[in-house]
């Protein structure tokens, strides 16, 4: 954690705030609740109390504004800077400004910014905290969509605010961090809490582990991304080494464990599948309106998940693999081709088992099953050779 130069802080415990205006994106009551909850985060770990006033000057004046709004830090339209706040002091000191050009929401979705999370961060500044370089801390400068149901302050933020104001009077500082056991039980667009807690994530398998298998594989703007659990292996045509990332570092609101993924390269669009839902992304941006049920693609309701997907740019068809069968989806008409599903083995000789993941590269399909991959000619569908699944990882 950090504080502002000379560590300014409020020299009293009863701090006042006033909400000067509202965003049309949310109900007024939801704005008030989001801000009140944000204040509670900080009052629960310090002696501070926050009282709302409805007129005159409050210590912390809260407002929504866009572009130039009277201080020397104009906002920049959608994205970029979302909000800012001033350290404790008279006048503009303590005030918090939200960029009205953002889409504010009380939910955690990929198409808006959660007002509670941003308010909690900015109020940290209003109370004297600077930015923290601890990934996952509330005072980390980059917005990260998180699960806000019973959200609690990470330890770094507690340490920071208590360095300025001490613990709450009545009880000793209680660790209020989220514990991994509280991960959401159902699949949602919300990030698994474990991403934000300092507990150790499962270790990443070694690149050249002979037993390495993949959940999903896709191309993306010339690169190849290999997925397993929350981990991503990136193979770029520009760099010889393999880069290691996590899904949440690209798409924080998507949870780990994809079943399949494929790219329609002409549209700069990648689709990810998990259980009976799928998402479409373009770079970092998750297209609005997702997730959608896979039945939208034409699968019968009996299909609850798919194993793998691969797109053929020549025929503009995408093959979806489910158990020992596969479907052919016409991207142009967004509809399933008649006569499917067919048995994989009938059309792809030598592939007599389910497919974990599939890739199309350089005129070949690569069907991954366990620690093996089967290279098939896209046009003739003839098996060319069998290789180890991790042969792409410079093994």
């Amino acid at each position: 954690y950090s504080t502002f130069p000379q560590s300014p802080r409020w020299r009293k415990e009863d701090v006042t705030y006033r909400i000067l205006n509202y965003t049309p994106d949310m109900l007024q009551a939801d704005v008030e609740e989001a801000i009140s909850k944000a204040f509670q985060l900080w009052s629960s770990v310090t002696p501070l109390t926050f009282t709302r006033v409805y007129s005159g000057q409050a210590d912390i004046m809260i407002s929504f504004a866009s572009g130039f709004h009277g201080d020397f830090y104009s906002f920049d339209g959608p994205g970029g800077t979302l909000a800012h706040a001033y350290p404790p002091g008279s006048g503009i000191g303590g005030d918090t400004h939200f960029d009205e050009d953002e889409n504010w929401t009380k939910f955690t979705t990929s198409s808006g910014y959660n007002l509670f999370l941003v308010a909690a961060h900015e109020l940290g500044h209003s109370l004297g905290l600077g930015h923290s370089n601890v990934f996952g801390a509330l005072m980390y400068p980059i917005y990260m969509a998180r699960d806000t149901r019973d959200y609690r302050l990470p330890q770094d933020d507690i340490d920071g605010i208590q360095a300025l104001y001490g613990p709450p009077r009545e009880s000793p500082a209680v660790p209020t961090e989220m514990t991994p056991t509280e991960a959401p039980t159902e699949m949602s667009t919300q990030e698994e809490p474990t991403e934000t807690t300092p507990s150790k994530p499962p270790t990443r398998p070694e690149d050249c582990d002979p037993h390495l298998t993949f959940d999903a594989i896709t191309t993306l703007r010339g690169e190849i991304l290999f997925f397993k659990g929350s981990y991503v292996w990136r193979k770029s045509p520009y760099f010889s080494s393999i880069e290691h990332d996590t899904i949440s570092s690209f798409w924080p609101s998507l949870t780990a464990g994809f079943d399949a993924g494929y790219e329609v390269d002409k549209k700069d669009r990648v689709l990810f599948f998990k259980d009976n839902q799928y998402w479409a992304v373009s770079g970092y941006t998750i297209e609005p309106g997702f997730p959608k049920p896979i039945q939208n693609l034409g699968f019968p309701s009996s299909v609850r998940k798919i194993d793998a997907a691969v797109h053929d740019p020549n025929t503009k068809k995408t093959y979806f693999f489910v158990s020992n069968k596969y479907w052919s989806f016409k991207e142009n008409t967004q509809s399933m081709e008649r006569g499917y599903p067919r048995k994989i083995e009938v059309d792809f000789q030598g592939i007599g088992h389910a497919v974990d993941a599939a890739l199309q590269k350089n005129g070949h399909f690569y069907f991954f099953h366990g620690s093996n991959q089967y290279e098939v000619d896209v046009k003739t569908k003839k098996l060319i050779r069998i290789m180890k699944s991790n042969s792409w990882l410079n093994c």
Binding site: G79, H125, L220
Partner: protein
């Protein structure tokens, strides 16, 4: 993620603005000091890479640029 090539000049401008906003980068307006500017900017990139735990190279590589493009708070990251 890879960036579409013709955007590079635009990205450099974006990076300069970012470093001005959040890392106290002040560009030397006098053109004679161009190389000094580049060194100064590289220092600031290093500072930003260190803050976010990126590989500290001083170069505006795509990972650094990706981080700069994330939605964020308007307060600077370094004391200024």
């Amino acid at each position: 993620l890879p960036v579409i090539p013709e955007k590079e000049k635009e990205d450099m401008q974006f990076a300069k603005k970012y470093l001005e906003n959040f890392y106290d980068f002040k560009e030397e307006k006098n053109y004679l000091f161009k190389s000094k500017n580049l060194n100064h900017m590289a220092d600031k990139i290093r500072e930003m890479q260190s803050f976010f735990g990126l590989k500290v190279t001083g170069e505006l590589n795509h990972k650094t640029l990706d981080m700069m493009k994330q939605p964020r708070c308007g307060i600077p990251d370094v004391r200024s």
